[in-house]
């Protein structure tokens, strides 16, 4: 599996947990309702949407569930299933809220945890409902049958174009933000090209940068579909989109750390390199005790050095988060670019090195599968490329995430959102102004739970199999962690939190690969211990998260 495929599966999880945590953020971050049972809605959403796309059950095949509407046209589709799941979880969230929402916050937390445990137990023990304690399997995610796509057909070209649309629109939106910052790079010119001239002129007509990004994405999608149908230029489009993505990512990193001085940059790079060195005992020795003790000792030394530096030197303390961030970026960079080519580099295989670099650079396409289109490139040799299903799924997920995020942002900035925050801050004031907090709290529960249900539907799609463990309380804990890391009540922060959490998870999953299978459970448990400790540190030192509470305009007194 190429490194870019790892990144794609990481992004899928970020999208799912981003939506789940946005739901919790509506409840806790914006309204102050501490829902320890958020995972219950995730569970219901997942099972509901799966039951809509499953074929009818067959007791002879040891499947047994209450409905299976997969054979019904229109109803038995993912779109319909997820819509129903979202509405259903919203309604259940409201029903749960009606009697319980008046309880004081510790009782509310216990009660909602209890309700989620009940949901889980019902799924586990009612064998007629959804296969009882056994896994619910036998469905496939939407449009999977189209893959690997045939770029010569209209359907294939449309699927390909959809992915191009999402990537192009996201990249363009990001670039439009970047070009407003002071930069020595010719970002305006790049923006003009990638928006097909719209960016400089049509902003007034189209209204916002997001509209421009959308239209630019649409144009890019149409063009790429045309290129595919006319000449099967899969690789060309893939390279173009990949390069565009790289430009945006590198500019983003460059701008983010532009304010750092040289010694601060060196410190960040040193931190990232130190992290890499600390992990070296794992691949280098086969003796488990040596590698575990060595790694832990080196990590301990690194953490101590960092702690010593931020407590002793003021200039380090000023950039303590930037150092970690830069170190992480550096670490990821080495992992993405350098580590995959170490093997061929060691054996002096130049074309192998270049081939690996090329495959990882063109992240938009999957290489080396049996199906796909063959190309012959100078130096690198023959490659087979295709747009695989996971990238298509990622486009769908990102589209959902973007849409929900936009709707939520609009909602929290509306008068409705202001009332929610007022309830969080002081309920008595809201009451005195003639608004009933009860109504708003129930509405907040409905919206948050519906988002949880939506995320559950995506999870069902992603995991392709559900068990009652889907409703384990750990998931609520992770959603809370994500909300707190980014910033309570800050939707952008929630997305950042989801990215950070899953980056940590992916990194540690890769590390677990160095341990014998018998010890994997222990290693994976240990990383949850680390997550817990990090959570405590965040809660203690940064209770407002990395991005802090977002200051929304009051809408009053501004003109």
């Amino acid at each position: 599996m190429a490194v870019s495929d790892v990144v794609v599966s990481f992004a899928l999880l970020v999208a799912i947990y981003g939506i789940l945590s946005l739901g919790l953020n509506v409840k806790f971050g914006h309204t102050g309702l501490l829902d320890f049972g958020h995972v219950g809605f995730f569970l219901i959403g997942a099972y509901t949407s799966a039951l809509f796309v499953l074929p009818p059950d067959d007791p002879a095949d040891f499947t047994n569930y209450v409905i299976g509407l997969g054979d019904v046209p229109l109803v038995g589709t993912w779109v319909f299933g997820i819509i129903v799941a979202t509405i259903l979880t919203g309604v259940i969230g409201g029903l749960v809220a009606l009697p319980t929402i008046r309880l004081r916050e510790d009782y509310l937390a216990i009660t909602l945890l209890g309700i989620s445990v009940i949901f889980q137990r019902v799924v586990q023990s009612e064998s007629w409902l959804a296969n009882g304690p056994d896994a619910l399997r036998g469905y496939s995610p939407p449009f999977q049958g189209l893959f690997p796509i045939d770029p010569g057909t209209v359907v294939g070209a449309v699927a390909f174009a959809l992915v191009v649309f999402v990537v192009w629109a996201v990249a363009t939106a990001a670039l439009s933000v970047q070009r407003e910052n002071d930069s020595r790079l010719p970002l305006d010119r790049i923006y003009a090209v990638t928006t097909f001239g719209l960016g400089t002129r049509a902003t007034g007509v189209l209204g916002s940068r997001f509209a421009v990004a959308g239209v630019a994405g649409l144009i890019a999608a149409v063009i790429s579909a045309g290129l595919l149908l006319a000449a099967s230029l899969v690789l060309v489009v893939g390279v173009l989109v990949s390069v565009y993505g790289w430009i945006v990512v590198l500019v983003a990193i460059g701008q983010h750390y532009a304010g750092l001085e040289r010694r601060e940059l060196a410190l960040g790079v040193g931190f990232g390199t130190g992290l890499l060195v600390a992990l070296l005992p794992l691949p280098l020795t086969d003796r488990l005790s040596v590698s575990i003790i060595g790694t832990l000792a080196l990590l301990g030394a690194l953490v101590y050095a960092y702690y010593h530096a931020i407590t002793s030197y003021e200039w380090v303390a000023d950039v303590k988060l930037a150092v970690i961030g830069l170190g992480a970026v550096w670490f990821v960079g080495i992992w993405y670019v350098l580590l995959p080519i170490l093997g061929p580099l060691g054996s002096g295989d130049v074309s192998g090195v270049l081939g690996t670099l090329f495959r990882n650079a063109v992240w938009f396409l999957q290489f080396g599968s049996s199906a796909g289109i063959g190309y012959s490139i100078a130096v690198i040799g023959d490659v087979t490329v295709q747009l695989d299903y996971s990238r298509f799924q990622l486009a769908l997920f990102l589209l959902s995430l973007g849409a929900l995020y936009a709707i939520l942002e609009a909602a929290v900035q509306s008068p409705f959102g202001r009332v929610l925050r007022a309830i969080r801050n002081d309920e008595a004031v809201v009451k005195s102004l003639g608004k009933d907090p009860f109504v708003y709290k129930v509405q907040s529960m409905v919206i948050g739970s519906a988002l949880g249900g939506f995320a559950g539907g995506l999870w069902a799609m992603y995991s392709q199999g559900l068990t009652f463990r889907t409703g384990a309380p750990e998931t609520t804990f992770i959603a809370l962690l994500i909300v707190f890391v980014g910033g309570v009540g800050n939707n952008k922060g929630v997305l950042l939190g989801a990215v950070l959490y899953w980056a940590f998870q992916q990194a540690t999953t890769q590390l677990a690969g160095f341990f014998p299978p018998a010890l994997r459970v222990n290693v994976l448990a240990f990383r949850l211990v680390v997550v817990g400790v990090l959570f405590l540190i965040v809660l203690y030192y940064m209770p407002d998260g990395l991005l802090g509470r977002e200051e929304y305009s009051s809408g009053v007194g501004e003109s």
């Binding site: 004081r104 510790d106 445990v117 804990f477 459970v521 222990n522 211990v529």
Partner: protein, 475 residues
């Protein structure tokens, strides 16, 4: 005479409920104290039970504990090094518990409530630590030594939660919501810390369940049948057990209605008298406890004296209760621990300080009560009682899983809130919850055993919605 077939019924569910309630109560005591005095609704409390249950494995099955296995000779035997390790850990555990009560000054007797020369106090503490260490080492790998070891170690570890985590957050004026989330994070760390060491496999204790009893051998996990008969001429009870496929009667007790009425009347009179005698005293045995003790003593004395008789041929109502000595032992252990706690709260300086802090912390501080010591005591008790409950639970279920304690968290919270967040209320509430769990499973058709916890939770929900201050009534 043929013996009529007797089915288990409501009475059996009730007896199960009392066993479940005993374990829930042991856990809930610590939870209630921490909630009441420490102001933390501690979501990590369930995982303390898990921690206790797994710690006992170090003594009970040392060979199966990763890392520690190198000091073991086989699954249950321990080398000299291993024994030394267990001794040192127990020794440090006991002194650690004392240390939590106020540092070096506590070791010198600062918490005793009476003035004693420091040397005497230090000597006593060290002696106690040595005794516990010797008991653990000589008892290895027996279940009781494992229990003692787990209780001491967890009792010393749990207060660290307060001093390393919760105290710091409290110093920053953290809100209740924040403390809730912090406790959830601590729960995560404890649960997966245990899993990091022990892995994912399900474990169990190895316990020699036969003990010499009245000249024979008694298997404490082996169920005995208690058959109750209500007939026209009276009430009788016979105890039986299965041996080699046949049911053998062990003992029979039979009472005519006149005898029953007489015992009840005597018990009532004695109870009223005892209540009058002890009520309005601040002593260890108050009015209600005295009345309850009077009833128990009367029933035992009367029941033994009037026992002779035989089983009726036909009965209006007959029901069977399955109970093993282990289950009875759990109930008695819980009662004994509650008695100890009651004594601590009523008769010692520390206990009085705890009650005063619970009533009004600011006033207690003004009056010169060392509230930090009270806080640490609360956490120590949470650790001691919680680990005891965890080990007993692991023995009763005969398997240990990582979710052992978390599964009991909701029933414990239900018991605590039901009792209005105070220790005595929590004990009562826990028995209500335990009974509701078992009777609910028995009485509601189609409800499988998986629903035990939801049933406990429904009780809590109803109480919260109808009478949020708890059944005992708040202040």
């Amino acid at each position: 005479m043929t013996y009529m077939a007797v089915e288990t019924g409501l009475l059996n569910a009730i007896s199960n409920g009392i066993v479940t309630g005993s374990i829930v109560a042991l856990g809930a005591i610590g939870l209630a104290l921490v909630y009441d005095i420490g102001d933390v609704p501690n979501f990590a409390h369930g995982d303390l039970l898990t921690l206790g249950a797994y710690t006992a494995l170090l003594v009970n099955r040392p060979g199966t504990v990763p890392g520690f296995g190198t000091l073991a000779t086989d699954t249950r035997g321990v080398s000299i090094g291993g024994l030394a390790f267990l001794f040192v850990v127990s020794f440090v555990g006991v002194l650690g518990i004392v240390y939590h009560l106020g540092g070096i000054r506590a070791l010198k007797g600062g918490w005793w409530g009476i003035d004693a020369p420091p040397l005497v106090a230090v000597g006593t503490h060290v002696l106690a630590a040595v005794v516990v260490g010797v008991l653990v080492v000589t008892g290895t790998p027996s279940f009781l030594a494992a229990l003692l070891f787990a209780v001491v170690v967890v009792g010393a570890l749990v207060p660290l939660m307060e001093s390393l985590v919760f105290r710091k957050f409290r110093a920053k004026d953290a809100s209740v919501a924040m403390l809730l989330i912090v406790s959830l994070a601590v729960a995560f760390i404890v649960r997966f810390g245990v899993q990091t060491i022990f892995g994912g496999e399900i474990r169990s204790y190895e316990v020699d369940t036969t003990i010499p009893f009245a000249g024979g051998q008694l298997d404490i996990t082996f169920a005995k049948f208690f058959d109750f008969f209500v007939a026209g001429n009276g009430f009788s009870l016979t105890i039986r057990e299965t041996r080699g496929g046949n049911e053998i009667p062990l003992a029979t007790f039979s009472y005519s209605w006149v005898e029953v009425v007489a015992v009840v009347a005597v018990a009532a009179v004695l109870a009223v008298a005892a209540y009058r005698w002890r009520t309005d005293t601040a002593g260890v045995i108050g009015g209600r406890l005295a009345a309850a003790l009077a009833v128990v003593v009367t029933v035992i004395v009367g029941g033994t004296a009037l026992a002779p008789g035989s089983i009726p041929e036909t009965a209006w109502y007959a029901t069977r209760v399955r109970a093993s000595p282990l289950r009875v032992g759990i109930i008695l252990t819980a009662l004994a621990m509650m008695g100890l706690l009651h004594y601590l709260l009523r008769a010692t300086t520390l206990g009085k300080a705890m009650r005063a802090t619970s009533d009004n912390r600011d006033l207690a501080m003004v009056r010169g009560i060392n509230t930090r010591r009270v806080m640490m005591t609360v956490w120590i008790i949470a650790g001691l009682f919680g680990s005891l409950a965890g080990v007993l639970l692991g023995f009763l279920f005969s398997n240990l899983s990582i979710n052992l304690g978390f599964n009991l968290l909701l029933p414990m919270f239900a018991g605590v809130i039901l009792g209005g967040i105070n220790v005595y209320g929590a004990i009562l509430g826990s028995y209500v919850v335990g009974l509701a769990m078992e009777v609910g499973i028995f009485a509601i058709p189609g409800l499988s055993a998986t629903y035990r916890i939801p049933v406990a939770f429904m009780v809590l929900l109803v109480v919260l919605l109808v009478k949020p201050e708890g059944i005992v009534g708040g202040n």
